[in-house]
Symmetry: D3
Subunit: 314 residues, 6 copies
Amino acid sequence: MENGIYQYGVGDAIDTYMYIKSSTKGIASNGKPFLSLVLSDKTGEIEAKLWDISEADERQYAAEKAVRILGEIQNYRGRNQLKIRNIRVTTEADAVNLADLIQTAPISQDEMMQTITQYIFEMTNPSIQRITRHLLKKHQAEFITYPAATKNHHEFLSGLAYHVVSMLDLAKAIAVLYPKLDKDLLYAGVILHDLGKVMELSGPASTVYTVEGNLLGHITIMVNEIGKAADELGISGEEIMILQHLVLSHHGKAEWGSPKPPMVREAEVLHYIDNLDAKINMMDRSLDKVKPGEFTERVFALENRSFYKPQFQK
Amino acid sequence: MENGIYQYGVGDAIDTYMYIKSSTKGIASNGKPFLSLVLSDKTGEIEAKLWDISEADERQYAAEKAVRILGEIQNYRGRNQLKIRNIRVTTEADAVNLADLIQTAPISQDEMMQTITQYIFEMTNPSIQRITRHLLKKHQAEFITYPAATKNHHEFLSGLAYHVVSMLDLAKAIAVLYPKLDKDLLYAGVILHDLGKVMELSGPASTVYTVEGNLLGHITIMVNEIGKAADELGISGEEIMILQHLVLSHHGKAEWGSPKPPMVREAEVLHYIDNLDAKINMMDRSLDKVKPGEFTERVFALENRSFYKPQFQK
Amino acid sequence: MENGIYQYGVGDAIDTYMYIKSSTKGIASNGKPFLSLVLSDKTGEIEAKLWDISEADERQYAAEKAVRILGEIQNYRGRNQLKIRNIRVTTEADAVNLADLIQTAPISQDEMMQTITQYIFEMTNPSIQRITRHLLKKHQAEFITYPAATKNHHEFLSGLAYHVVSMLDLAKAIAVLYPKLDKDLLYAGVILHDLGKVMELSGPASTVYTVEGNLLGHITIMVNEIGKAADELGISGEEIMILQHLVLSHHGKAEWGSPKPPMVREAEVLHYIDNLDAKINMMDRSLDKVKPGEFTERVFALENRSFYKPQFQK
Amino acid sequence: MENGIYQYGVGDAIDTYMYIKSSTKGIASNGKPFLSLVLSDKTGEIEAKLWDISEADERQYAAEKAVRILGEIQNYRGRNQLKIRNIRVTTEADAVNLADLIQTAPISQDEMMQTITQYIFEMTNPSIQRITRHLLKKHQAEFITYPAATKNHHEFLSGLAYHVVSMLDLAKAIAVLYPKLDKDLLYAGVILHDLGKVMELSGPASTVYTVEGNLLGHITIMVNEIGKAADELGISGEEIMILQHLVLSHHGKAEWGSPKPPMVREAEVLHYIDNLDAKINMMDRSLDKVKPGEFTERVFALENRSFYKPQFQK
Amino acid sequence: MENGIYQYGVGDAIDTYMYIKSSTKGIASNGKPFLSLVLSDKTGEIEAKLWDISEADERQYAAEKAVRILGEIQNYRGRNQLKIRNIRVTTEADAVNLADLIQTAPISQDEMMQTITQYIFEMTNPSIQRITRHLLKKHQAEFITYPAATKNHHEFLSGLAYHVVSMLDLAKAIAVLYPKLDKDLLYAGVILHDLGKVMELSGPASTVYTVEGNLLGHITIMVNEIGKAADELGISGEEIMILQHLVLSHHGKAEWGSPKPPMVREAEVLHYIDNLDAKINMMDRSLDKVKPGEFTERVFALENRSFYKPQFQK
Amino acid sequence: MENGIYQYGVGDAIDTYMYIKSSTKGIASNGKPFLSLVLSDKTGEIEAKLWDISEADERQYAAEKAVRILGEIQNYRGRNQLKIRNIRVTTEADAVNLADLIQTAPISQDEMMQTITQYIFEMTNPSIQRITRHLLKKHQAEFITYPAATKNHHEFLSGLAYHVVSMLDLAKAIAVLYPKLDKDLLYAGVILHDLGKVMELSGPASTVYTVEGNLLGHITIMVNEIGKAADELGISGEEIMILQHLVLSHHGKAEWGSPKPPMVREAEVLHYIDNLDAKINMMDRSLDKVKPGEFTERVFALENRSFYKPQFQK
């Protein structure tokens, strides 16, 4: 497993431990039930079908279990699938560490928290600094483990924190080049923009939307949280409204979920940084699966485009 | 003035008191300054130009002043305009009551508050009732005088409260016919849906958007207010989130400013009641100005349509 | 069957009579034919699959038959399905009345005709009254049994008439609140707006589009019918054109099939009443299937939204 | 006037007779009234302003009058304008024939009617032939003088008939190349498609929309007329519905006013022929005003494009 | 096979030779592999499934093979399918000529080249003539065999050349009726507009997009080729840019792949001719499969419309 | 003039030298001609009107002249305008250096060329390096003086080069953070992406579109140039096509003028860098004109948004 699931080619035999990321029951058109599994190791994921299952199978091969798999890689409509020959749930005897099978951020949680703390430390506007620190602290436990989304980009353990760290570094680099940008506002916007996801989403794994997530959404949730934080900390002044505006407008357009478009310079830049980091993340993950001279699968969240890896790039 | 400004036809002489609703300076293409006035009496408004003005004129004929006008009605590009022959600001000697020159809701403020209070009284869910009563009370002074918008519909003194009262009556009539509707939720939704406008708009007259109104908007402002009200009243439970959802979704679609579409039955009905009342108000005001067999001017907020008054309607 | 098909939960055993609303042959991906059945009782409908069918089965389990079913409720992709263990066509010995298995309007046909007749009786404009009465009489036999659509809303026996009756009551309630509305026009518009569906659709059951329905559509068909009715009754005057406009514009926008948008006050209100009644009908039917604290399935005709039933609603 | 108004260049003196196509009163920003005139000769039209007018001027220089003009060509925002030095209404002494000053089709009315009659004569399906002949005869007087539109394309005397004649020739040429096309249907579709304009528009000159034109539109009007014609002639059969479909669908898309898109081969081809002829007409008229190596003005009805006349074309 | 595959009705037995146009492996929901075949004869194509295949089957029944088929016509979701009872690859003993099983243009390649050559010969502008001749010659080998597209229209052997020949005839017919059109430009535009497809597509059969086709597209490829041709032939002057513009703009709109809309008269006409010929081709092929009084299948490239064949057409 | 034109407030007297950036003749609605001037100094620009002009005035106060102005700042519809009291063209006696009155990039042309040259020097792929160097050299004279556009962003002397330099620095900063990005490709893409503007636009001042710019556009022009450069340099390989793709796709979407969307990682990033730099430039220039606590004018190219400068920013 050294190299991970994407290193295998069509026809290769598989004998490895994997994590069941999701397990969905279907009914085949011959009337028999089956399971569609998404299996992961630390480096990526692959689909597999388990045909003709019993009710015991359904319970056993549920999400968040570790399994031992024998099988081989098949091609199905241009995508690799894992054809399962043998599957069993791991026992203590396997001595498998679940954490080794789950996709996670490439930086440790501690390191990420340290980086973010440093960025907050550098802020000079005390209102912005205190609100940001307060809200991060309040939701830190979830923030550090949640994915950034249920699918599309940074959809792995600690994906949310990793997305924020990358964006902070990007924000800093841009602020150096365009010195009129207000660093405090930009950093605070980056840290808070998706923090509402800890209430919008159900948890770090098998993530779905909460009722609150469906009816209000992470943007509205966090705008409210900023208002509450200001009340609790006894902070008044325009900083609160501007921070709320940054969160409110970070999707860029009404059609994309921001009832107000960015109307403050740093809000516009935040929207760009968010998009750019998410898109590079999606392109990188997609291009990692193909060789030079090939096109990737279509990526739905990138307007359903395929990407080409030039032959002169390794 | 018995019958009001819309009763005059082209060529009719005017000798009356009017209120300057707005006054905008322009520069004519001969380089000389002029004022574009919107003048109102209790029943409606009309445009007028004041040519070749001095700086004193500019100060004198500003918004929110009452004036005595001599002139006549002209037709300009299919719209009536008032050609001013003589204008002066009123003095005490004129014994003019400003309130008699301003367009306002056709029901008194007291009567409207009584009606709304009665609807709140009829609510049976204590959480919904308490939050609604609390927020109405908190913003009552502004609520009862503000227009519902700076233009388009109910853009007159107490227009917001009048819009709410009409919608409450409509909500009740609909709830009788569709008994599965939750009356408490519907009434609370009607009362709260536009209440954020008291912070989005600058005041009852010469109304413009506040900075908060521009950057957050009345929807986000009121969703926050509901959260704060619940905190202050110590109310928890799903009612808060559902009320927030009703306010959040009442524009119906992301493109129209609601980041979440209605996903609760009463939210969808609220959206319809809001639209229906606003549209009937706009059509009525527009059709009042034309005779049977004629088309109205185009109404921008009604997709720029003209409306026809059939000959067999009086 | 007292409580109907929606009262059963996943795992419940079923032993009941049902009506085959539709029966579609498919070919399973093992190459064998099967039938997708939509089965109904008086209260609702459910899907079921019949695997590995013979040609005799195909003929026997066709639409519009009554059957005796043994089976159980399964969950498939979040929707209930009926897993058939045993099925047979009913015989005389079963003493089953087909009408008891078919979804139909909750009011009797006689009662509905009486209500509509009363509304026509109340009209004061003789031209509008005579045209409306003439066209209703001409198409009454179909009107009283047809569904309002092949799917989406009011898609049951007498659904069209039921939709009209609900809209008439809604129109009356609204006209009371907005007295400038012309009741005659509004009632006539309600009665005529979808009457063309009796020529657009093939019949009360197993409903499909006719050629005329496909090439002209119910709006154009009824606009023509109004013209013919006026000729036959020797009626002239603007009422004819205005009634044609109400029918023509009742979808509200060109994109939705109305080549002219509403340009008469009552046409705009008709469009709202039509939408509101259809949407409440769809939401009610969808929410009836879920418990408090749950979301409904996505409803395609409601912009593919899910609806949430708050926990505090029963 | 030999060569017409487009032959004059900026700075050229004008001394000629012209026709007042339209006359619109404006109020200059110095408060004084003026007239915006559109003046035409047989070959084209030009704008002119008449400043500081009296009420007598307004009555005198109204639409549909012939005038003697002295003046010169000016350039205003890239368009030629006629600067009037002297203007007077013509008298008998001028011996000016109004018909010589009005833009009209380049073929005589008789010739056009003969051509159309010949195409009807060539039809072999008696139902299609009789309906087409009946409707053309019924509306012939208006048909032969009306413009095809109030602006955009073929907006001149007999423009409608000229558009139909061009389309018939185009239909014939296409039918020769694609022999599966049904010539009868195509010719009938061409002749009837815009015939409703004789009721949608007010007349051959100073053309505006009628009430019926606004509320129903020429498409719906003509679909009704076809139904009536069939009744009067006692014709039944699918031909009627198909002709109605051709007229109904000839704008191609719901957004463009056709509630049903073309669903018959000849309906699709009719839509293309209509567009192609209208667009070539607009491009030709626009390109006639510029020299090789120049761009035309933007043409609103051609998606606001400018067209370039290559240097190698004369 | 006299009459071809579309002459067979549901239930008819088939015993014939066919060509495998494409062969796609799937995995049935019982986990077993199968092949989806598109089989053609000279007149058309039909789908068929081959269940439970071995790896040898997969290799054997690949695209571009000829096969002998026994089976029967079935109806599946309203489309005819061929149910295979027996299939084998042809041997020399069958004496089957592959060319007799492949859909191809109804005119011979020689005849088409002669027609095109004649049109080039008729050109009078030497620059346009030389560039057109040069580019056609350069790519003639591919041009004469390629399809016009991978699907939708003219997707058969020599479809590209056939599309060009039809368009040239159409261009000539139109140019006769509108004499201001520049024939040279129009003919050159027709010949060059899709010539870039010989580099965009992979070949005459089993056609897919090349990398260059994906990243640049046939429009950009051909615009570059025109520039190179001018350099090689030492031609300068506006003709080159205008030809490039014709190719660049022939899709009509940015959304459809033309970064510049047609801004030269002949470019606009080229766009129409291209569309009209493609659409008539698609309608004809679709209507050939149905009887009078029936609707065709939905045609995706014609906005997903169905077309109706009137009963009075044969 | 130390501080530039934006430092003056309403009512301030002006006595300074300025450059006439553009001069457009209009006709006032009293029939008299006037000039609309855009005047600039090194820091920005302002509008002014010159009323009642003679033909001599028109010639004298044309674009690209330097003038001495006496006047004062006025407010007109929320924008500052310069009211001219006295104006004259400068003479040698004024000793005014034109270059001191023109807006230009804040870095010298030499410095910018040095920076760009350094980026080319750092490239490691020889094909990419040689093509980039060749094309830059070929068009260097125009490149270093042209604006990046006729309006919207970087619309000043050397704006194109300045935009490229900013983007290169941004590209470098991003490439450090996302090491999978191909620096060579990114730098080359930045340098070439808008280079076609030297042929699309007419020159460094009074800039308009050329015929080639209108009919082909800078994207198509540069894609052709890359092909020619490769031919001239004898370079083959995928680099050429990929560079062409980067230029072709840099507007991001078909609707925005890129017939192919970015399908290579660096193409997507190039599109973002381009947008981000242009938008920050536009926001900065707009926000420079307002004080903390104010909104800017609406900026058309930023979706017509206003931007707010928070009170806590200086």
